[in-house]
C-alpha cells in the first residue's frame, strides 16, 4: 500500500495530482521496459526537473522504485511497485466502471 495522504483531503486537487504523478512516473518506467533514465521519465510524466527529483525520492522512500547507478543513473520498479501498478489498474478499472476517476 502506498500512503500518499490521498483520501484525507479528497476534494483538494493537490493530493490527487500528487497520487496521479506517482502513478504516471511508475507507468512511464514500466512502459520503457522497467528501466529508464530520468530524462525519459521527465518527458513521459511531463514534470519539471525539480519536481521529478522530489517525486523520485518519495517513490524510492516508498519502496516502489529503485535507483541503479552503473554508467548512467536509471530507475526501475521494485516488485512492490509492479504489484502496486497491477492492483491500481484493477481498482482504476473497477472505479471506472461506475464512472469514477481516481
Amino acid at each position: 500500500m502506498i500512503e500518499t495522504g490521498v483520501g484525507t483531503k479528497p476534494t483538494t486537487t493537490k493530493y490527487r495530482s500528487q497520487f496521479r504523478i506517482y502513478v504516471d512516473i511508475m507507468r512511464v518506467i514500466q512502459r520503457e521496459g522497467n528501466e529508464t533514465k530520468p530524462t525519459r521519465i521527465l518527458y513521459g510524466a511531463n514534470l519539471s526537473h525539480d519536481r521529478l527529483v522530489k517525486y523520485l525520492e518519495e517513490l524510492k522512500a516508498l519502496g516502489v522504485i529503485q535507483e541503479s547507478i552503473d554508467e548512467d543513473k536509471t530507475y526501475s520498479l521494485t516488485q512492490k511497485g509492479i504489484e502496486f501498478l497491477n492492483d491500481f489498474r484493477k481498482v482504476e478499472s473497477f472505479a471506472g466502471a461506475f464512472g469514477f476517476k481516481l
Binding site: 500500500m1 490521498v6 483520501g7 479528497p10 478499472s93 481516481l102
Partner: protein
C-alpha cells in the same frame, strides 16, 4: 434469490474496500458503504421472509415481514442516496437535491410511496451510468449501466406489484439479474490483468 444478490453486493463492497485500502480515495469508501448497506438490507429481508415461510405464514410471525422490509427499504434508501450524492458531487451539478428529510421515521409497509422514492433515486443513478457509458464506451460501464437499469426496473415492478401481485417474482428476478451484471463486471475487472 435475495441471498445471492446480497452475496454479490458484499463482493462489490469488498472490492471497493480493497481499492480504498490501496489508493485511499474516499469515493471508494462511499461505494463500499453503499453496497454493504444494499447487501445487509437484502440479508435481513431474506431472513425475515425465510422465517415467515418456514413458519408457514403463521400470523405471529407476519410482523417480521414489515420489519424486514423496513430495514431493507432504509438500507436501500441510504445506499442509493449515497450513490446519488457521490454522482452529484462528481458532476458538480448541485442543482439537484434529494429531499430525504421529509421521510417519516416509522415502520413502513411495501407500498407505492416507498418504491417510488427508490425508483426516483435509481432513475438518477441509471441516467448517470448511461452518461458514463456514452463517454467511455467500455463494457464495464455498460454492465454497471445495465445493472442499475435492471434494479430500477425491479423497483418499478415492485411499485406495480402493489396493484398486480403476480409481478412480484419478476421483480425479484430483475433485481437478481441486476446484481449478476455487477458480478460479471467484477469478474472482468479481476481478469483484466
Amino acid at each position: 434469490m435475495e441471498f445471492i444478490a446480497a452475496g454479490i453486493a458484499m463482493a462489490i463492497a469488498y472490492e471497493a474496500m480493497k481499492g480504498y485500502a490501496l489508493v485511499k480515495q474516499r469515493i471508494l469508501l462511499y461505494l463500499n458503504l453503499s453496497f454493504i448497506l444494499l447487501g445487509a438490507g437484502l440479508i435481513v429481508d431474506g431472513f425475515s421472509d425465510g422465517i415467515i415461510i418456514f413458519a408457514k405464514f403463521h400470523r405471529a410471525f407476519l410482523f417480521l415481514y414489515t420489519i424486514g422490509y423496513t430495514i431493507n427499504f432504509f438500507a436501500q434508501l441510504i445506499a442509493y442516496g449515497i450513490l446519488v450524492i457521490v454522482y452529484i458531487q462528481q458532476t458538480r451539478s448541485f442543482g439537484t437535491q434529494i429531499a430525504m428529510a421529509a421521510l417519516p421515521i416509522m415502520f413502513v409497509q411495501r407500498n407505492s410511496f416507498t418504491e417510488l422514492i427508490l425508483v426516483f433515486l435509481l432513475v438518477y443513478i441509471s441516467a448517470q451510468t448511461a452518461i458514463n457509458y456514452s463517454v467511455s464506451k467500455s463494457t464495464n460501464t455498460l454492465l454497471v449501466f445495465g445493472a442499475f437499469s435492471c434494479l430500477m426496473f425491479a423497483h418499478v415492478l415492485f411499485l406495480l406489484y402493489t396493484l398486480v401481485p403476480i409481478l412480484f417474482p419478476f421483480a425479484q428476478i430483475a433485481q437478481l439479474f441486476g446484481f449478476l451484471l455487477l458480478l460479471a463486471m467484477l469478474f472482468r475487472v479481476n481478469q483484466a490483468i
